[in-house]
Structure formats: structure tokens, C-alpha cells
Symmetry: C2
Subunit: 371 residues, 2 copies
């Protein structure tokens, strides 16, 4: 077991990483003195597979609780679901000292954090992430959000949890595609900050894909350390430090959006986005081709895509421009100058971005058999 | 014109108080560098009476703007209206640097602040309060909220504006009942913090009720100074300092709720709540009867109620217990030990609270003519 502190003065909190650590939850809740009534937000899939131990522990600790199940889809990150959850919570919370437990992946975590941040102007919440993506990324750092028709994560708050409990046992419920999506973020940490993590991944990817607990703990630990450090130094992305975490993400968002969020999940799009960012870094002579090839090889081994399915370049570029982080014709990309080293570059020439995108698009097969 | 600074480190902001100061807005927006597109939230009543100067100024300053009108009722502090406003804002905000202007009273201000706090994880907003209550109280301090069926202000955030512009000209649109409601809060400041303000009110209440601009400016200034100081020292009501502002309010909430928020507006209930808190202070021998009588006399002169309409004591006590600030049988009241001096007292004996409430209830007329 390993505890990592996210240092944010009075809002500091622990990330506890280990195997079979749900039975410690009662003690943490008592120590944090956050209340006697847990409102658990989860989804059907996770409830079936991951809630038993949690319920046992809450009962043993003599805590009231209620489980609220939301649909297991990105659509749960919406104002109607947010409203339904808040109304249900208000009914449960009668003269209780209530806190929230987010048991699930990024959708559950983002929604639960937002509920916690605006209910009674802020109540405590605990993240118990059940996906690799959530354990290494979304459960840490307090970014909470729901989507609007006009764009993803348009409604939200920065509101830190009081505890993140990352139990690697919970990852056994993951299907392989979700696992790979999480792995894309771990690869990202390796590229931007931790060359040892990167070489570990190159060596141990098979054990990770086989869900070996030791390997999972190792990568969750390293990733959480990096994220905790960055969040502690730049919580609100005001100093350009947290920006490094966006490596591959700006291009990933464009790819996700261009395929209407149907073709690629976030991790897959991040894998593609990172490769394109590396292509751009190479075009700008920030790196030579060997790092690019090494990353591409690891991404392949992780079972993540290295080419974008056939699409018109225009559609990708339009999605790129719609990104909420841009205004006018400016762009700002996180690029790489070496393994573990990032550089934020503004106004990358459009030809270079277009060329990099184009080279990553699969060419359509030239001939189709007549029907 | 007078500028008062709310000191909250990086989130500090100015309250500008004066007469006919809307024409200064463009300069402030430019100086604050908060964007080029104003999304104005207001209601029908205020739009008709108070928006002309604002629109002229925004046009003159070359800013984009859109006016969003919400219904002129407490019901606008609801999740459906919040959702409608956010969706509309997202449509307006296309590649713009948008900020919000709240033009109205407490309802507009509370809703607008919440929209600003959760849209894109926080965008800037400016308060232009148009009621006395909002100028002296709700527009300052960043408390934002909407109501749920289960209770008022259950959804919200503490999110500070970037500027409060209190133009006393705008108060000319007030009807007398709203003016009196605001005056109740000004009387509160006098009682808890500023004996000179209190004696000023005793002397000048007629000019205030006649909406004389000099008198209005004087009381808005003194009240804003007190509120700004308290918010600067205890933004989140964590140190017991901001608690002083709740003088009369816990009992006021019970009175408002007992009459289903129909009989008394907030200021009227605060007037009654303050008198009851003074009665309790007297019962506990914290003050003698002379201060109590002086306050009662001023409240009468202000045209505010000094007795609660006929109601059963039980109903009041039940409403008192339902207050979100209590858990279990504990209570916590802001009491007075002299003009300008508060004392927070926990677990006031119930008999004393009941007696004080009972003595403030109008006795029903004994006989009714047979119909």
C-alpha cells in the first residue's frame, strides 16, 4: 500500500493505492470526520461487480448509506442526470451529515464531484475509481463536469475530493478496451514526465494487459505521483504547469469530436493525439524519429490505434478549431523535446498540423468490389 | 463616489458606490480585462426600468452583449431556470470571451453568480444590484444559489464577482415594500457593528424612505464597508466571523417558512427575527430593555412589522427545527450584548426561544361577528 499526498493547503488530501484496501475505508472516513451518511453514486455495471466490499465495510463501520445508480454511459454527464441525483440526494439528506462516494469511472467521478461541489455550497466527497483511466487521471485533481449540447465539460467546477482510494482489485472488472484506454494515459505520463515509467511499460505491458495486480499497482502509483505533484503546483491550470497533462489531448478531442464521440473512446483518441503531437514535434525538429518510433511501438503493443480511420482532413481540422481552448486563429500545443520533457508551443503553423494529421489518416482502400 | 475593496488575495474586487455611475462600467470592464462579450441576466421589471443606461454604455464601449430576461419571481432561483440560462449562454458564447452581468436584485444575483461559477468551471461576473437589499447584502460576498423543493439555497457555490457597481439611481425603481426590506438589513448592520449608522437611521429614516440619493448612498456605503470587511476575514463562514451577519436570520427563516414564504418577504422576516433575537438577548440578561425598545421603534418607523401575524407557536418551532443550520437538538443564535456588539450563543434553552416567539405573535381578535 502507498499513500500519496496532494498538497493544496487546507484542501490537501491523500491518494491511497493498494490491493484489497476497501476494508480500510471506515477508518479513513472516521479520521476525516466528514459525516455519518454516505451517498454512493455508481452505475449498474460497477454496482454489480464492485460494490459488495464497499457495502460490507460501510455496514461494519455503522454508517448510513444510500446507493444511487446512474446509467452507464457518457450521457450521464448531463444536466438532467445531475438534477435527478441532486433531488434524490436532498431527499436522503434529512438532518444527516452527508458525504458522497463516487464509485466508478470518469463519468461517475465527474458527475459526483460536481454534485458534491454545488450541494449546500459544497459537501465532502471520496473518489473510489474503478477504471484504470480514473485511477491514474480523472479521480485526481478535482476537475468535475457535465456536458452540454454545445460541448463537453462545459459545466463544472474545480472541487477536490477528501480522499482517493485506488484499489487495484477493482480493475479486474475492466474489459480490455477500457484497460487499454487507461493505459494510454499511463503512456502519456511516461512520455511527459517519467522515462523510467515508460521503459517499465515497454518491458511489462503484457503483465498489465493480463491485469497482474503488482504491475497495475506500479503504474497507478507512478501515474498518481505525477498527477498529484502537478495538481499541487497548478490546481487551476493558471501557471502553465498543469497544461503539460494536455499532451495529446487537444488533438484527441478533435478526433473524438470529428467521429461524433462514437468511433474512439478517450484513451484511444489520446493515443492518436500523442502520436500526432510527436509527429509535429519531429516536424519542428524538437525530436528525431527514434522516440516517435518507440512510442508508436509501445502504443501498438498496448493494443491502441496508431492510425485514424478514414475521414476527410477538413472534418478533423474543423473539429480542431471548435475546441474550447482556442480563440480566433491561435493554437497552443504540448509538444515533446525528449522522453520526459515537454514544451508548450503557441501558433504551430497550420500546414504542419495538417500534414501530421493527414499522415495519420488511414488511406481508404482504393477499390471496392462492385456490389 | 466611493470604492470599497473586498480583500480576498487574488480574488479581491471593488465595490463602487455612487450616483449615476453606470457610464463608468466600460472603463472598469476594460481595466479588469474580463472579456469582450457581456451576457446580461435580468428580469422584465428591471429591464424596463434600469437597462437603458447599461446598454448605452456597453454599445459605447464597443462590447458585444445579449440580454437574458428571467421571470421576476423567487421561482427563478430554480434548476430549470438555471439550465435554461446556461443553455442559452452556451449558444451565445461561440469563440467569445464572455462574462456575465447580473442586473437585478437578489434572485438575479444569486442565479447569475451560480451560472458564472459553473460555466466552463468559472467565468467572470459583475454584480449591478438594483435593490437596496442586493446593494447592501446579497451582491457582496459571493454567495450564489438556487432553491430545491427540499429547501432554499440548497444548490450553490461561493464564487466572488469581479466588480460590484452599486448605483443609487437604480434604487428609484424600487417599490416601498422592497425598499423597507432592504432597510431591515441596514438596521441589522447598525445593530451588530455600527452604532453611528444606527443613530443615522434613527435621524434620517424619512429621507431614506423618500429615496433621497444622498441618504441612500450613505447607508449603502456603511453597509458595504461592514459586509466587505466581514467577507474579507471569513469568506466561507469558517471562523465564526461571518456568522454575525446571521443576526435575526435564523429566526427569520423559520418565520418565512412557517408562512410558506408568502406572508413575509425576507427583509420583513429579518425585522421580526431581529426583534426576537433581542427579546432572547434580554431574557438572557445580555442587554436591558432600552436597546430593545429603541430597535423596535426604528423598525416601526421603517414601516416594518414588529409582530408576527396570528400563527400557532408549534408551527413556528417546527420551521425553526427544519432549518438547515441545525442538526439534532442543537441551536446556535447570534445575540446582542449592546449596540454594535454580537455574541454567538449555542443551545439557548428552548423555553426562552418559545417565550420570545410567543410574545411576538399577534393575538387573534377574540370575537368575530357571526356571518
Amino acid at each position: 500500500m502507498r499513500t500519496i499526498r496532494v498538497k493544496l493547503d487546507k484542501r490537501s488530501y491523500d491518494i491511497v493505492i493498494g490491493t484489497d484496501i476497501i476494508p480500510l475505508l471506515g477508518k479513513y472516513i472516521k479520521k476525516l470526520d466528514i459525516g455519518n451518511s454516505a451517498y454512493i453514486i455508481t452505475n449498474t455495471y460497477v454496482k454489480e461487480r464492485c460494490s459488495r466490499g464497499l457495502i460490507r465495510e460501510l455496514k461494519k463501520s455503522g454508517l448510513n448509506f444510500k446507493i444511487k445508480v446512474i446509467p452507464d454511459t457518457e450521457k450521464s454527464k448531463s444536466i438532467p442526470v445531475l438534477t435527478a441525483v441532486i433531488n434524490d440526494l436532498a431527499k436522503f439528506d434529512l438532518k444527516k451529515r452527508v458525504f458522497i462516494i463516487a464509485l466508478g469511472g470518469g463519468v461517475v467521478g465527474d458527475l459526483s464531484g460536481l454534485v458534491a461541489s454545488i450541494y449546500k455550497r459544497g459537501i465532502p466527497y471520496i473518489q473510489i475509481p474503478t477504471t484504470l483511466l480514473a485511477q491514474v487521471d480523472s479521480a485526481i485533481g478535482g476537475k468535475t463536469a457535465v456536458d452540454l449540447k454545445e460541448g463537453k465539460n462545459l459545466i463544472g467546477a474545480i472541487y477536490q475530493p477528501r480522499l482517493v482510494l485506488s484499489d487495484c482489485c477493482l480493475l479486474k472488472s475492466l474489459d480490455i478496451r477500457q484497460l487499454r484506454a487507461g493505459l494510454a494515459e499511463v503512456i502519456k505520463y511516461g512520455i511527459i514526465k517519467d522515462s523510467r515509467l515508460f521503459t517499465y511499460l515497454e518491458r511489462e505491458y503484457r503483465n498489465i494487459l493480463k491485469l497482474k495486480v503488482l504491475a497495475l499497482e506500479r503504474i497507478v502509483r507512478s501515474s498518481s505521483l505525477i498527477k498529484a505533484d502537478i495538481v499541487g503546483r497548478d490546481e487551476r491550470e493558471a501557471k502553465g504547469i498543469r497544461t503539460a497533462l494536455n499532451f495529446g489531448h487537444t488533438l484527441a478531442h478533435a478526433i473524438e469530436a470529428a467521429f461524433s464521440f462514437k468511433k474512439y473512446n478517450h484513451g484511444e483518441a489520446v493515443a492518436l493525439g500523442m502520436l500526432i503531437a510527436l509527429d509535429i514535434s519531429q516536424s519542428l525538429k524538437l525530436i528525431n524519429s527514434s522516440l516517435n518510433k518507440r512510442v508508436e511501438s509501445l502504443i501498438k503493443k498496448a493494443g491502441l490505434p496508431t492510425k485514424i480511420e478514414s475521414i476527410r482532413l477538413n472534418e478533423l481540422m474543423q473539429a480542431f478549431y471548435r475546441d474550447k481552448k482556442f480563440s480566433g486563429a491561435k493554437n497552443r500545443l504540448v509538444l515533446i523535446t525528449g522522453l520526459g520533457k515537454v514544451k508548450i508551443v503557441e501558433n504551430v503553423p497550420l500546414e504542419i498540423i495538417e500534414k501530421a494529421l493527414k499522415n495519420r489518416i488511414k488511406q481508404p482502400s482504393v477499390l471496392r468490389r462492385a456490389g
